[in-house]
């Protein structure tokens, strides 16, 4: 029975690994091919099946004037917008979440849970609902087609995630911890950043990871709210496509696009597996 179970376990792990890794391997191999190798017979292994070329990668950094596509600037735009928006969302979201977790709010029939749900509801809405309001809003304040405008919009999109995760996290941090800090002589602000916050680092990391992922992969708003001045990576990658699909540079750009997320995943995984998610009490 247990042997069968072990077999099943490894079978599914292997199956799943292949399922996840295969597209990456396919993209890696494709990124080193040229028109000939993609469009003639089926090929897999470099040097044996086809002659690898760096052309797919080179066009990514060549300027359009020289026949390249230059994703460097959109790449850094994306990094800037994602990191800035995530950082601000985490700071504001954490403060909001702490307040929602520790104080009782009351306005008519509205209670803490309703406020929390209001934040989350921003993510439940289909993004298209928000597109026209955002467009009008940004054009009114003159931030259409600008990095700052995107940062503002992304904060609106990412903060609910931060609030949602952190409220749940703070609710699990016993309030005796804050009370003890007060008794030990902290004022409420010191209690928050000296005691509660250090205890919430795992939560902050998880929230930060989600913000970065959702910020980085957003195509919709980046597409609608920018035109010529500013471009973000997802939009630029899509724009690579033309009447003859350049599979090689598409693959290369897909790989460089997921690279930061893979790095983030590795860092977060290491941190979380240290067991720092365990509770502060007992």
């Amino acid at each position: 029975m247990s042997k069968f179970y072990t077999f099943l376990k490894y079978f599914f792990i292997t199956f799943w690994t292949v399922f996840v890794v295969a597209p990456f391997l396919w993209a890696v191999s494709t990124s080193f091919k040229d028109f000939q190798s993609v469009n003639s017979k089926v090929t897999y292994i470099p040097w044996l099946d086809f002659e690898p070329t760096l052309e797919g990668w080179r066009v990514l950094i060549k300027s359009p004037a020289k026949g390249g596509v230059d994703i460097v600037e959109p790449y850094f735009n994306s990094i800037f917008v994602t990191c800035t928006a995530s950082l601000i969302s985490i700071v504001l979201g954490t403060l909001a979440a702490y307040a929602l977790s520790r104080f009782t709010f009351k306005a008519g029939f509205v209670r803490n849970n309703d406020i929390t749900f209001f934040f989350i509801s921003q993510r439940i809405m289909p993004p298209i609902v928000l597109s026209i309001p955002f467009f009008i809003f940004l054009s009114t304040i003159g931030l259409l087609d600008s990095l700052l405008g995107l940062v503002v919009v992304y904060i609106v999109l990412l903060m609910p995630i931060a609030v949602w995760i952190m409220v749940d996290f703070f609710n699990r941090v016993p309030k005796e911890l804050d009370e003890t800090a007060l008794i030990d002589g902290c004022n409420p602000y010191q209690a928050f950043y000296k005691v509660v916050l250090p205890n919430s680092i795992p939560g902050l990391i998880v929230a930060g990871m989600f913000c970065i992922i959702f910020g980085w992969i957003d195509f919709f708003f980046a597409f609608i709210l920018t035109f010529t001045e500013v471009q973000l990576l997802p939009v630029k990658v899509v724009a690579l496509n033309s009447s003859i699909t350049p599979w090689w540079s598409l693959s290369a750009s897909a790989l460089v696009s997921v690279a930061p997320l893979i790095i983030v995943a590795f860092i977060v995984e290491r941190y979380l597996s240290k067991g720092n998610l365990s509770g502060a009490l007992k």
Partner: protein
């Protein structure tokens, strides 16, 4: 270092957690009390009787709905927790997970900007008392539950200048052996530094062995304040009689028959209470099983019971008998021979307490 210990006055304090309700339920009914400087107090009562609320009011975590708190005659009701100079230890260990044991113990002193030398000296002293010296540099989260609770306790004791150390059932998670040693340590600390200690518990033995003064609470009400001896011999209400002592006080429904006598069924029992204005009223007679004596034959103030059970506790025997529908328990010496069948038990008049409306007459 200036001594800052204080007398704590609770004046007409009451508290409700739903003040906006048209009919608020009170977690604490109005009461006044004084905690003298340097004494040991135990607050004793069943769960949910308002013990923790009282501590939180003193430490400032809860603002009382009504009344005033004074430290050495200075009102502190509106003073924030961090400015009150109170140490509080909770039922379950609360530690700063991200810090080492040393930093945990030093934290209250650092918050109050003590010098580095002073911090080192105090942390060392406290960690020696609590057997934590060898762990000072380990991360606090790696310790066991009882060691963590020692850290919580240590953070309370590390400040010599506190007005009082409030402890909310602090030894629940600690094993019995260490519990005993810690209680003695706490007593020593109290005697050495003259720190006022307030100890919340629902365990009467803990309260009796620890405190000089015991405050018994029930349903938001302070029922009795006094020395262990008073609580045992003259419980002010039937609740205290039930709650303190093991087994609980014997309580019998009875009727007042004359100025000093009550009748249980047909037996007349003489008491030392003055029952003049309660004639023919229904009252309760209470007597501790420890004070009931075996009588060889029927005489005044004896009751006849049918023996139903004898339990040997090693150091004493507990007799359980029936007098009609009433159950009587009596503790007798182990060596004493117990006659079979019906027994006569003597109720010493000076040990009989009479309760009218559950209150001592």
């Amino acid at each position: 270092m200036e001594e800052q210990m204080a007398k704590i006055d609770l004046s007409n304090i009451s508290h409700t957690y739903n003040p906006l309700d048209p009919k608020p339920t009170y977690a604490l009914n109005p009461f006044s009390m004084t905690w003298e400087n340097g004494k040991r107090y135990a607050i004793l009562g069943p769960s949910g009787c308002g013990k923790t609320t009282m501590l939180n009011i003193v430490s400032g975590l809860v603002r009382p709905s009504k009344g005033e708190i004074l430290f050495d005659e200075t009102p502190v009701t509106d003073l924030k927790t961090e400015d009150r100079n109170i140490a509080q230890v909770f039922q379950f260990p609360v530690i700063y997970n991200t810090m080492t044991v040393y930093d945990n113990l030093a934290f209250p002193l650092r918050c109050r900007e003590f010098t580095k030398e002073k911090i080192e000296e105090r942390v060392k002293a406290v960690s020696d008392t609590l057997n934590l010296s060898s762990f000072l540099n380990s991360p606090a989260r790696k310790l066991t539950a009882d060691q963590k609770q020692l850290i919580s306790l240590g953070r309370g004791l590390v400040r010599e200048d506190v007005a009082a150390v409030l402890m909310d059932e602090p030894l629940t998670v600690i094993d019995p052996d260490l519990k005993f040693r810690l209680r003695r340590n706490l007593k020593e600390i109290n005697e050495q530094y003259k720190t006022t200690l307030v100890y919340v518990t629902h365990d009467q033995n803990e309260a009796m062995t620890f405190a000089e003064n015991i405050i018994v609470m029930d349903q938001g009400e302070i029922v009795q304040v006094g020395l262990p001896k008073d609580l045992f011999e003259k419980p002010k209400t039937t609740f205290v009689g039930y709650f303190i002592g093991s087994p609980a006080m014997n309580i019998f429904h009875s009727t007042v028959s004359s100025d000093h006598e009550v009748k249980i069924h047909d037996t007349t029992i003489k008491t030392n209470s003055n029952l003049g204005n309660l004639k023919d009223k229904n009252v309760k007679l209470g007597i501790r099983s420890e004070f009931i004596e075996l009588a060889e034959k029927e005489r005044s103030n004896t009751v006849k019971i049918k023996l139903t059970r004898v339990e040997d506790f090693g150091n004493f025997k507990l007799l359980t008998g029936k007098m009609g529908d009433l159950v009587v328990k009596s503790k007798v010496e182990r060596e004493k021979p117990i006659p079979e069948g019906d027994l006569n038990l003597y109720f010493p008049p000076e040990k009989c307490c009479v309760y009218s409306d559950e209150k001592l007459v």
